[in-house]
């Protein structure tokens, strides 16, 4: 069942543009530019899907708020996301981001790191400025939510990096999900939706509201993201097969290891045990071919659909009682968009 949603791209554009415009106000426009503030502005201005910010604004609006109420938080999310991308790219040794060279490739690791840290600090500012529009209590509540999310993201990142560092590949799907829950879902989906809900309801949400929905949506998103990295036709952000170069523990890689013969496992472990720069084109090509051979791509695709199904179920539980609106429909259609996009 494929429904090509037009609403989702429409809203992504609308809220994305709104966020991008507001975001500029928070990028410091003073010296040092060449070594700091220009770099800081790079990723945020390069664009991206603006999915996170849109989720936040849409949820807020679906629950009755005005888009501008959620704008500060949306900006903060995108800034923080960009900041983490800078660090991710360095840690992963990635070379491409959003169609252009990564920040550290262009400017070197020290300046890029510095810019990333600065961007993290810059992302705090909108949350503090929030208090004017939303009131101190709600602003504080959002800060608390941000804290929780940042913590969990770091934990998830640590998990994944730990696996790479220890060259651990004998993982199962549950391990992957636990990691994705913390590393991706909180920042990408759970937190934006919850923050939006806090704004929309003036801090009257249940302690665990939207976490399940956010989890399944985020997991779907991430699995699909990983798939696209291997099969996308045109460059959609990172370089093709970049994940294989990095040794990222995706569902496909885990499945590959699980299904491989012992000798193949050894080879896989050997490849992944080396530094990225020591891996060869042949290594990567071999891994990719093996994935086809063992049906890992298909497996992950099915998995993503399963997660999407669960997400839809959770959506109906979470948003069932809310009155219909364009924003609410956007949230529902996000689920399919996330798994169908290419």
């Amino acid at each position: 069942m494929t429904v090509t949603s037009t609403l989702v791209p429409e809203i992504l554009n609308e809220y994305g543009a709104m966020t991008r415009a507001a975001l500029r106000d928070y990028l410091p426009a003073r010296e040092p530019r060449r070594h700091l503030y220009d770099l800081v502005a790079e990723y945020p201005l390069r664009g991206g899907k603006m999915m996170r910010s849109s989720l936040c604004i849409a949820t807020a609006c679906a629950l009755g708020a005005h888009p501008h109420d959620a704008l500060d938080v949306a900006v903060s999310i995108e800034l923080l996301h960009s900041a983490l991308l800078i660090h991710d790219d360095i840690e992963d040794g990635s070379e491409q981001r959003r169609g252009r060279p990564t920040l550290h490739v262009e400017h070197g690791v020290p300046l890029a790191l510095n810019a990333g840290d600065t961007l993290t600090l810059v992302s705090l500012r909108p949350l503090l400025e929030n208090h004017g529009r939303l009131g101190g209590d709600l602003a504080m509540r959002i800060v608390q939510e941000t804290e929780r999310m940042a913590l969990l993201s770091a934990e998830g990142q640590a998990m994944e990096l730990g696996w790479r560092q220890d060259n651990l590949i004998a993982l199962d799907d549950a391990d992957y999900l636990r990691m994705v829950l913390k590393k991706t879902c909180w920042l990408a989906t759970i937190y934006p939706i919850r923050a939006g809900a806090l704004i929309g309801t003036r801090a009257a949400i249940a302690a665990e509201a939207f976490i399940r929905f956010g989890f399944f949506l985020g997991a779907t998103f991430q699995i699909q993201d990983d798939l696209l990295n291997l099969v996308a036709d045109q460059s959609y952000g990172k370089e093709r097969d970049g994940d294989l170069w990095e040794g990222k523990r995706t569902l496909m890689l885990i499945r590959l290891f699980r299904e491989s013969e012992p000798a193949e496992r050894d080879r896989l472990a050997a490849i992944l045990g080396t530094e990225r720069k020591e891996r060869t084109q042949d290594d990567v090509a071999w891994m990719r071919a093996q994935m086809d051979r063992y049906g890992c791509i298909e497996y992950a695709r099915r998995y993503a659909h399963r997660m999407a199904g669960a997400a839809l179920h959770e959506y109906s539980l979470a948003f069932g009682g809310i009155r219909e609106s364009r924003d609410k429909r956007f949230l529902e259609e996000m689920v399919t968009w996330v798994v169908e996009r290419n």
């Binding site: 003073r30 010296e31 040092p32 060449r34 070594h35 700091l36 983490l84 660090h87 840690e91 690791v109 020290p110 300046l111 790191l113 510095n114 990333g116 600065t118 993290t120 600090l121 500012r125 503090l128 400025e129 208090h131 101190g136 209590d137 602003a139 504080m140 800060v143 608390q144 804290e147 929780r148 913590l151 770091a154 990142q157 640590a158 990096l161 730990g162 560092q165 799907d173 549950a174 999900l177 636990r178 829950l181 302690a207 665990e208 976490i211 399940r212 989890f215 399944f216 099915r302 998995y303 659909h305 399963r306 997660m307 999407a308 199904g309 669960a310 839809l312 179920h313 959770e314 539980l317």
Partner: protein, 279 residues
Amino acid sequence: MSDRPRVRRKEPERTAPIRDWSNMFRGPGAQDAAARSTDSDAAGLHVNNLTADGVANGSAAISASTAQTGLVNEEARAGIEAAYRIIEEHLQEGRLAAEAQRGRGGGAGPTAFATAGGPGVGIAADSIQEMVAQGIRFYSSLAPLWASLVNSIASAAVMRDSAADGISAPPIASAPMPRRSATTTSFAPVVIEIASTRMTRVTVDLPPHVQNLTIGGLLALEPEKPPLREISLTIEPGSNRPLVRIRVPESQPPGAYSGVIVDGESGEPRGTLTLRIEA
């Protein structure tokens, strides 16, 4: 000697204290053990109900997802159930942590805020508004400092080492701390020549062993104040010391002006210079 067998000590479960506080959702064994033992009935029931909910959700989700994919099979069912187990686990962890924070009296733990939504013991400001307003003031007033600080961290190596564990992997305990790293108290001798009719004060941060340096203009925080452009940085002939020459025009408004000292070749920042003109 007695006939009965010698009494021996039991093997202890551990012989060292737990010093690792990094996993903040789980305290030392006691937290879980005590929490479970004293609340075991309530907690156990609670957990079971939730698991039941989770399972109920899971089954419904399976139906939803099978509708989605058309696949009814073991793989699908196992996948969904695993996923639900994971999210329920996660939620339970969050509940335990929140409960633990409440039990602590809300003040001792750093995540005190994560629960009730109120400030923990010891928060400085009288009100949240105050704190947030202070935050803006702090951020803004430190902005020029921020820029200069960011550049005067002792060395790129320090930045790499310390920044790498900022928000990614936890710090590796055995990584040597940079004992050699220069603190802000280590300066290279610098000669400064200022031409000004008013009292000025200059602060310079420069690590030792510098050559081939340049500095652009000095800028004030307030945009209406023009930058100080008449500034040069050379090496004093004969002594190898950096020589800074600044001319402050008569009309230059009083205030603080800062700039970054840059390696002429690589473009990397090396230090900062701040000039304060007294009114």
